[in-house]
């Protein structure tokens, strides 16, 4: 590949090239291969990869866009590569983090020692919309509140850091697997030469994890995946995972509560359900306990859950631990529960509920990213440097009206990785979302949904906002 000047900028860590423009050691093979291939050949590979997504129907739904019920997620064919050593750091950091977060959830719905000891303010926890008072006093199998976690990790020139934890219904793992399948078959020799760690057993690990959470020891517990239905943005993933783990893909109307148990309506009558891998928000799980207008959930489900007759994974109420304000306290949780320093640091976060942080945020809007604490998926966010003055002013009014609803963070110089744009390589900002599974033990398959902001200069990697995906190769060594 010739004819393009890859734009290196020392403000950003480039995943492939060092500051001197030479490829990093673990990218050498890829660089050699890219140099040897004409751009037109690479474009053909890109086209094949993207076409395979369309042919497989690997899609997501963009809300509010009636035409986009089956939008194909954009994919870039150039893999991102991490060394075994880099992955070890990420793995250790994630294992530590999910341990602390599970302890935190058990604590705040139990004795609340962390609040009594003044580590985190009571009103921040109990005033959080995701705090579910209905979960107080509940116990969960193996103290696992969060069985599946998707943590967003970014890299800056200072190294890796955690951008956010997704502890409710994290999505994206199907794209991780789809990216791998598509890129692997189109870069066959290169893939083989790299000795990439396998991620193909994710479904098996997920099934083991869920089975270990069944209320009673059973060789073959009945596991179902509860989806809001075909119009949900992640329906493809729900269907995909149901197949991977051999579970029935159910909607609320397929389940019913009777005599303290939850049953699934099968062709042969009702069958008792042991574990529900729910991909539906807390609000909609049970209209008798949460939103009474929910048609997606199962009346009585929480009753069965409280009796310990069915396990919900993730447990309701886990959102209190991934709230954008509570996030700021995760390093303190790690120190408090584990007596360790965080392996992966947080991004510096200003809580607008604190007067000094509010003042700082309002004074520096043009340099900050401001997020609503209750939003996700890149919605409701202001990227200060990219916003127009009137947008910033309107946002500032919102912050002044309800400061506790906002946090701000510095605009992070997200690392960049080469992407194929047309027939040339150009750097684009990336993050990664590995998936942590926690049953009796914690297991992390060595891979991630590596998200990429395909629009030049954009820092927003969410697929709902124009982002796409890349395959992430974790090397054996």
């Amino acid at each position: 590949m010739t004819g393009n000047a890859y734009d290196l900028d020392e403000t950003f860590h480039d995943e492939m090239y060092g500051a001197d423009g030479a490829p990093r050691d673990h990218y050498r093979l890829l660089d050699d291969a890219l140099q040897a291939l004409p751009g037109s050949e690479l474009a053909l590979i890109q086209d094949r990869v993207r076409r395979s997504f369309a042919e497989e129907g690997i899609s997501f739904t963009v809300y509010g866009d009636e035409e986009a019920q089956e939008r194909i997620i954009p994919v870039d064919c150039i893999p991102r590569i991490l060394t075994g050593e880099e992955w070890q750091q990420i793995e250790a950091g994630l294992t530590q983090r999910i341990d602390a977060l599970n302890r935190f959830l058990g604590d705040v719905y139990g004795e609340a020692r962390i609040i009594a000891d003044g580590v985190i303010p009571a009103d921040l926890v109990r005033g959080c919309p995701q705090y579910r008072i209905e979960m107080r006093g509940m116990t969960v199998p193996h103290d696992t509140w969060v069985a599946v976690c998707g943590t967003d990790i970014v890299r800056t020139t200072d190294g890796f850091m955690v951008l956010e934890d997704n502890l409710r219904v994290p999505s994206g793992v199907s794209y991780m697997l789809a990216n791998r399948a598509a890129v692997k078959s189109n870069l066959r020799r290169l893939y083989r030469r790299h000795q990439v760690r396998d991620i193909g057993n994710y479904g098996e690990v997920l099934r083991d994890t869920l089975a270990s959470l069944a209320p009673e020891e059973s060789d073959d517990p009945c596991i179902v995946l509860l989806t809001p239905g075909v119009f949900n943005s992640a329906f493809y993933e729900h269907m995909f995972l149901a197949r991977e783990i051999g579970a029935s893909l159910v909607e609320g109307r397929d389940l019913l509560f009777d005599g303290g148990q939850v049953f699934m309506r099968t062709t042969r009558g009702l069958r008792k359900v042991d574990v529900i891998y729910r991909r539906i928000d807390d609000d909609f799980i049970d209209p008798l306990v949460f939103r009474p207008d929910s048609l997606l959930g199962v009346p009585g489900l929480m009753n069965a859950c409280k009796r310990g007759n069915v396990t919900l994974a993730n447990a309701p109420g886990t959102g209190v631990a991934d709230d954008k304000s509570v996030y700021a306290y995760v390093p303190d949780m790690i120190r408090y529960y584990l007596g360790e320093e965080p392996v992966l640091p947080n991004v510096r976060t200003f809580l607008c509920r604190r007067p000094e942080d509010l003042e700082y945020t309002l004074d520096n809007l043009e340099n900050l990213v401001v997020k609503r604490v209750g939003e996700s998926g890149g919605y409701g966010m202001l990227v200060g440097p990219h916003a127009k003055p009137d947008e910033r002013e309107a946002y500032a009014r919102g912050i002044r009206d309800n400061p506790a609803d906002f946090i701000s963070q510095p605009v992070l110089p997200l690392s960049r990785a080469p992407c194929l744009i047309g027939e040339h390589l150009e750097p684009r900002h990336v993050d990664l979302r590995p998936f942590v599974l926690r049953g009796r033990s914690t297991r992390i398959v060595p891979g991630a949904f590596s998200r990429v902001a395909l629009v030049k200069g954009s820092l927003v990697v969410n697929s709902s906002q124009g982002g796409g995906g890349k395959d992430l190769w974790v090397l054996e060594s």
């Binding site: 369309a54 042919e55 497989e56 129907g57 089956e70 075909v230 269907m239 995909f240 149901a242 197949r243 029935s248 893909l249 159910v250 909607e251 109307r253 397929d254 019913l256 009777d258 049953f263 699934m264 309506r265 099968t266 062709t267 042969r268 009558g269 009702l270 069958r271 008792k272």
Partner: protein, 319 residues
């Protein structure tokens, strides 16, 4: 198996069977447009609309138009029956509904089945009648028939023989029973009556021409044609063949159902329908009435299958 998944598979194959049926009739019809007389062309359109139980978009067809009118009409009618999104009986609407069921039930079917459907969908989803009309439309319809036949082949070759497979087949057979009875009834009732060519085209529509020639040679007597497509047990696609196959699906499913009594009633009904064809067809003095009764029973059969396995009252039974 989750009842809704079974229902999804059942409807998927019903829609695809219907889509293939329409494609098959349209292939014959577009071939006829090349060289057949106007009366025969009108016969063909009436037979298609009659089989589907619907009317043409502009009302009854006029048989006294000139060639130009007939071709213009045919363009409109083919568009209505092939791609019209507001027509739930258009070939693409049925294919889309089958494919949508498959999309929602992808975890219950093999990847080969899905890919076969999805690739065809990507090809046809944005087409319009003008895209196929100018160049060999019959090849397009033949391609659709092949796609759905390939889907059936993938299903036969790759699906685990569990309940899901039985519901998938059962849906196709019940749809075929309904379409076959409607096609033959309409064929025999078209006022101007069917000529030799129309009878041959009925054999083609039932995918029975080769079998007929193998058994009876070239002498295409209506009586023999009807005997083959209705009551010949050796023809897989005959009405009797479809009833027998539906019966074997119900045998495989047994009475272990959400509503066992309804499941047993479904099996008995198929038995009665089969007996009517086996024992009553040959000597019947009013065959159209017999077909009407079988058509009504086919609708009842659908209701019993739904009530036995998909939408039974809860509390009846726990697995």
């Amino acid at each position: 198996m989750l009842a809704r998944s079974a229902q999804g598979l059942y409807w998927m194959s019903r829609y695809l069977e219907r889509s293939e049926f329409i494609a098959r009739l349209l292939e014959l019809q577009t071939r006829a447009l090349v060289d057949r007389p106007l009366a025969e062309i009108h016969f063909g359109w009436r037979r298609i609309y009659g089989s589907l139980g619907i009317s043409p978009p502009a009302g009854d067809l006029e048989a006294d138009h000139s060639d130009d009118y007939a071709l213009a009409d045919s363009y409109t009618l083919a568009g209505d029956l092939t791609f019209e999104p507001s027509n739930p009986n258009s070939m693409r609407s049925c294919f889309a509904a089958g494919r949508e069921n498959a999309r929602q039930m992808r975890h219950c079917i093999s990847s080969g089945m899905w890919m076969n459907l999805n690739l065809a969908w990507l090809d046809i989803k944005n087409l319009d009648i003008q895209d196929i009309w100018a160049r060999e439309p019959e090849a397009f319809y033949a391609g659709m028939v092949r796609t759905i036949k390939t889907f059936d082949g993938f299903a036969a070759a790759t699906m685990y023989r569990d309940e899901g497979y039985q519901f998938l087949r059962l849906g196709a057979f019940i749809e075929r029973i309904q379409l076959m009875t409607a096609l033959v009834t309409t064929h025999c009732r078209v006022p101007e009556g069917a000529g030799d060519h129309e009878w041959t085209s009925l054999l083609r529509a039932c995918q029975a021409l080769d079998a007929f020639e193998g058994v009876h040679g070239m002498e295409r007597k209506p009586e023999r044609i009807l005997a083959l497509v209705i009551a010949d047990p050796l023809l897989q696609g005959s009405l009797l063949g479809s009833l027998t196959s539906a019966g074997s699906c119900l045998d495989a499913l047994g009475t272990e159902a959400g509503s066992p009594d309804t499941a047993a009633a479904a099996r008995r009904l198929v038995g009665r329908m089969t007996a009517r064809v086996v024992y009553d067809w040959t000597d019947s003095t009013d065959r159209l009435r017999l077909l009407d009764e079988i058509a009504r029973e086919a609708r009842d059969l659908h209701g019993l299958v739904t009530g036995a396995w998909f939408e039974y009252a809860t509390g009846e039974r726990q697995a």
